[in-house]
Amino acid sequence: MGKKKHDTPLLDQLESGPWPSFITGLKRLADDNDMMVDLLGQLEHSYKTRKGYWKGGTASVIGYGGGVIPRFSEVADMFPESAEFHTLRIMPAPAMHYTSDILRKFCDIWEKYGSGLIALHGQTGDVMLQGCTTENMQPCFDEFNELGFDMGGAGPSVRTGMSCVGHARCEHSCYDTARAHRQLLNAFIDDLHRPALPYKFKFKFSGCGNDCMNSVQRSDMAVIGTWRDDIEVNQEEVRKFVAAKGRQYVNENVVMRCPTQCLSLNEDDTLAVDNANCVRCMHCINVMTKALSPGKERGATILVGGKRTLKIGDLLGTVLVPFMKLETPEDYDALQELAGNMIDFWAENALEHERMGEMIERIGLGNFLEGLGLEVDPDMVAHPRANPYVRLDAWEEEVAKWNARQAAAT
């Protein structure tokens, strides 16, 4: 300990200003940690040359294939103490709840084995313990593991999940996101720890259409809360809201903003909702939190295939199951089963390095549905096809299926 710090004139400029400075934190760590001294040196070097100096490699803990992001420095000759600077990804509890006690324990273990630098959190929701030597990785992980925490995902595997605060605090929450999150992640824990899938697979859970987890775009399987019956309206609270804000405000900010124009403000300052046309967008409920709430028959819409850029451009998830009830344990088991079927089908049919969304784009949603044994539904499309490039040999069979379903439904 006590290695002399490098000059960091560029990084030092990131210490001023009102926002908390990560550089100040790194420097504080460097006071007592030589690895951080050289890490700061390398980072300053990056800032000066505008280049990165880490390369990958291999590093792992016993029993697991993933969860560690190994980093070896390309400029270790200049900065030897941070020659190895691996990250351990640790899965937090759903919605990232902590006691101060558990956080302190994190700090203590990590101070012992690592750099002392923790990201709360990575974009996939992991606790990222950054800056570990190969040697310290195993004992460090062992202590976290004993504390009740497990390694997160990395590589071609199921990844760490994310869920919104949901039932814990949010009145909009239409299903138990924490429960779904934990049940599903832990059901596929083997696929998480032992990367053997075509590519990565992410779950995200949002309790309502506000999608605070960005699941539509950042997960292969997005579970987004919704309801099937009517919006709950407390007309007394509507009246109070109108009294407080004025009719014009309500018309301009609620009624006229409904995407399907299914609201109207009655003469008596109550609200009429054309529930058959409501698309569960959440807007009116967001504005009038006291007066409006999601209906009572709650569950989720399942979207599939969201991801970022590689290799065909960003994809938004698309509807796979318009509505799935999520109340009983059996409902949650059904969700898990669906996820399992999806992963199995994808594992069998995807090309190497092909995400779920890309595979669906390649094989067509129809084939994917068929593979999963799911029923086709107009809710899955923005609009039907605009081109005639389709084989219709099996038209009659498909019509028969639809008709049978309709008959069964009535």
Partner: protein, 357 residues
């Protein structure tokens, strides 16, 4: 010395003024407003104060000279000798005074020409050649149109749809008929049957290969001669290979079906132009009256009429109520074939949780 052949006068598109009603000429570009005093009649008023009354009548498009002469007689006797045709093969007679309108209408009706097609009516169906003349048709557009217009006559002569209803038909998958509120098109359901004996004579083989949108055709030797081969797994039965290669017979009395498309719109009024979408397929190509297609089309029109708001074109109505409700209200089945899977189609899927329950 042999006579020199006559070379054409390349006069191109003729000047319209020589055939134009005098009031059109006088007020050219100077019209003020118009109204529709009754279905089939337009009253245009010019800034000068001049007025023209137009009476619109349906025709069969495919006309014999006797019918055309009959229309000319009417133009001379009941109108002022000038007519024009609309893009939908309706004929328009122009008169300069209101009192000429009713006698003209009476005469047209007497001669069997329906009056209408204006405003919020179902206008004449724009159509194509079919068995009457084309070399690649799967059906007969004129017959389909005659059959449908018989059924839709009542909506042609009235103006009580929510907005204009424009219909088109096409008699093969090349689709000379345009995008429309409702389009009735051929949809083949089996790959072409190749007559290999004729391929080497009748096909430009490389050009056929390159025209296939599915890259399903490859050159092949069959019975020792150069021919073509279709990968039937890849083929989407579009028939694009048939025109350049007639031995690749795509038409089939049973498997060439009709499909119905909804929501094409070319105008910019309110919403942007939009392409029509597949709603029904597998409809028998059933001459001479195509009753199965007619039933579906009447259902769609009836549902639209009852459910749409004033000024909503077909696609605007569907967008408002949602496609699910379109299928529900019309009773048409929704199948996996309605899902677009031709190339990068994610933008046609529902990338949201916006769902009606």
């Amino acid at each position: 010395m042999a006579e020199q052949p006559r070379m054409p006068i390349e006069s191109g598109t003729p000047d319209a003024f020589q055939y134009m009603h005098p009031l059109f000429q006088r007020n050219y570009g100077q019209w003020a407003w118009h109204e529709r005093p009754r279905p089939g009649v337009l009253r245009h008023v010019a800034k000068s104060g001049d007025e023209v009354w137009t009476v619109r009548a349906g025709t069969q498009r495919q006309m014999d000279v006797y019918t055309i002469r009959k229309l000319c007689d009417i133009a001379d006797e009941y109108a002022e000798g000038f007519v024009r045709f609309t893009i939908r093969s309706n004929i328009e007679f122009m008169v300069s005074a209101q009192d000429k309108v009713q006698p003209l209408i009476d005469k047209l009706l007497e001669e069997g020409f329906p009056i209408g097609g204006t405003g919020n009516s179902v206008s004449m169906i724009s159509h194509t050649q079919g068995w009457l003349h084309c070399d690649i048709p799967g059906s007969d557009a004129s017959g389909v149109v005659k059959s449908l217009m018989d059924e839709l006559h009542a909506e042609f002569i009235r103006e009580d749809m929510p907005n204009k209803v424009k219909i088109s038909t096409s008699c093969c998958q090349i689709n000379c008929g345009g995008q429309a509120d409702i389009a009735i098109n051929i949809q083949h359901t089996k790959p072409p049957k190749i007559n290999h004996d004729l391929v080497s004579n009748l096909c430009e083989r490389p050009s056929v290969v390159s025209r296939c949108p599915a890259a399903a055709i490859r050159p092949a030797m069959v019975n020792g001669s150069p021919s073509l081969e279709v990968d039937e797994k890849k083929c989407i039965c579009c028939g694009a290979c048939f025109p350049p290669c007639p031995p690749m017979q795509i038409n089939d009395p049973e498997h060439s079906k009709l499909a119905i498309w909804v929501g094409g719109k070319n105008s910019n009024a309110r919403s942007k132009p939009s392409l029509h979408k597949l709603v029904a397929a597998g409809i028998p190509n059933n001459p001479p009256r195509w009753p199965e297609a007619a039933t579906i089309i009447k259902t769609i029109i009836k549902t639209y009429k009852e459910d749409a708001r004033e000024w909503e074109r077909m696609n605007e109505w569907v967008e408002r109520i949602g496609w699910k409700n379109f299928f529900k209200k019309t009773g048409l089945p929704f199948t996996r074939f309605h899902i677009d899977d031709w190339g990068r189609t994610r933008h046609t899927l529902n990338t949201s949780t916006h769902i009606r329950f």
